[in-house]
Amino acid sequence: MFYTLSLVTGLMILIQTIFNSESSKKIGIINSTFINFITSSLLLALLIISNVISFDASVMAATPVYAYIGGFLGAFVIIASSFIIPKMSIFKSTILIFLGQVATGLAIDYAIGFDFSGKKIAGLLLISAGLLVNILFSERKRA
C-alpha cells in the first residue's frame, strides 16, 4: 500500500542522510553530493543497458517546462541545506523545515484539488501532532 511505501521511503531517506553527513565530514558536501549523483547515474545506466528501463527522449517534447523544476530543486536543496542548517540549532531548523514542508504540501493539495476524505484529514492531523510533539519536546538533536 502506498502509505507503507511512503513510510519505508522515509526510512531510506534517513539512511541516505546519515550516509551523506558521514561522508561530508570526510570529503565535504559537494564531493559527497557529486558521488551520490554519479552512483545513481551509473545505476540508471545499468538499468537502461539491461533493459529494465528504457529511455525515450521524445517524451520530453510534450512535457511542460515546469515539470523539470524538481531536478533543479533537488540539487539546490542539498547544497542550500549544507549552508543553512549549520547556522542554527538542529531543533530550530527542523521545526522551520517541517513547517515549510507541511504548509506547502497542504497548499499543493488544495491547488490541485486533492480529494480529502474525513479519515485522511484525521490521520494527517494525528501524524502532524505526533511530529510536532517530537520536534518540540525531544532533546535538541536530530539523526
Binding site: 502506498f2 511512503s6 547515474s41 540508471l44 522551520l96 505526533g130 510533539v133
Partner: protein, 139 residues
C-alpha cells in the same frame, strides 16, 4: 531572514517531490528518473566546476556511502509512485514519519556507531500519536 530560508528549504522539498511526480506523470517512471538525475548531475557538476572542488581523499570515504546513490534512485521512484496516489500532504507527512521512526530506533540502540539516546516520554507520546494517525489512514 535565516529563518525564512529554512522555511523555504522545507517548502522546496515539497515542491521538488510534487514536480518530480508531475514529470513522472508526463514521461513515465523510467524516463523521469533518468531526466531528474541527469539534471541533478548537471547542476552539481556545474557547482563542482565553479567551486573548483577536488576529488580528494576518496579513500577515506566509508564504502557503504557508495550505496547512497542507489538509495536515492529508489527514494525518488517511490516518492513519484506515492504522490500520484495519495497526494502531497499525506506523502510528505508519511515520509517525515518514516524518517522519525527510523531516527528514534537508530538513536535508541545507538546504531551506525552513534550515541545512544534513550526513548523518552515525549518520543513515546509522539510515536503513539503518529501510529494512531497512520492507523486511521489505513482504516
Amino acid at each position: 531572514m535565516l529563518n525564512l530560508w529554512a522555511v523555504l528549504l522545507g517548502s522546496s522539498v515539497s515542491f521538488l517531490i510534487f514536480f518530480n511526480g508531475v514529470l513522472s506523470k508526463y514521461t513515465g517512471e523510467g524516463n523521469s528518473l533518468v531526466i531528474i538525475h541527469f539534471i541533478g548531475l548537471a547542476v552539481i557538476g556545474l557547482i563542482y566546476l565553479l567551486k573548483k572542488e577536488r576529488f580528494r581523499g576518496l579513500a577515506s570515504v566509508p564504502p557503504y556511502f557508495f550505496t547512497s546513490g542507489i538509495i536515492g534512485v529508489g527514494v525518488i521512484f517511490f516518492e513519484n509512485l506515492a504522490i500520484k496516489q495519495i497526494g502531497a500532504s499525506i506523502t510528505i507527512v508519511l515520509l517525515m514519519s518514516g524518517q522519525l521512526f527510523a531516527s528514534i530506533i537508530i538513536d535508541a540502540f545507538g546504531l551506525f556507531g552513534r550515541k545512544v539516546y534513550k526513548l523518552t516520554l515525549a518520543k513515546t507520546i509522539s510515536l503513539a500519536l503518529m501510529l494512531s494517525g497512520i492507523t486511521v489512514l489505513y482504516l
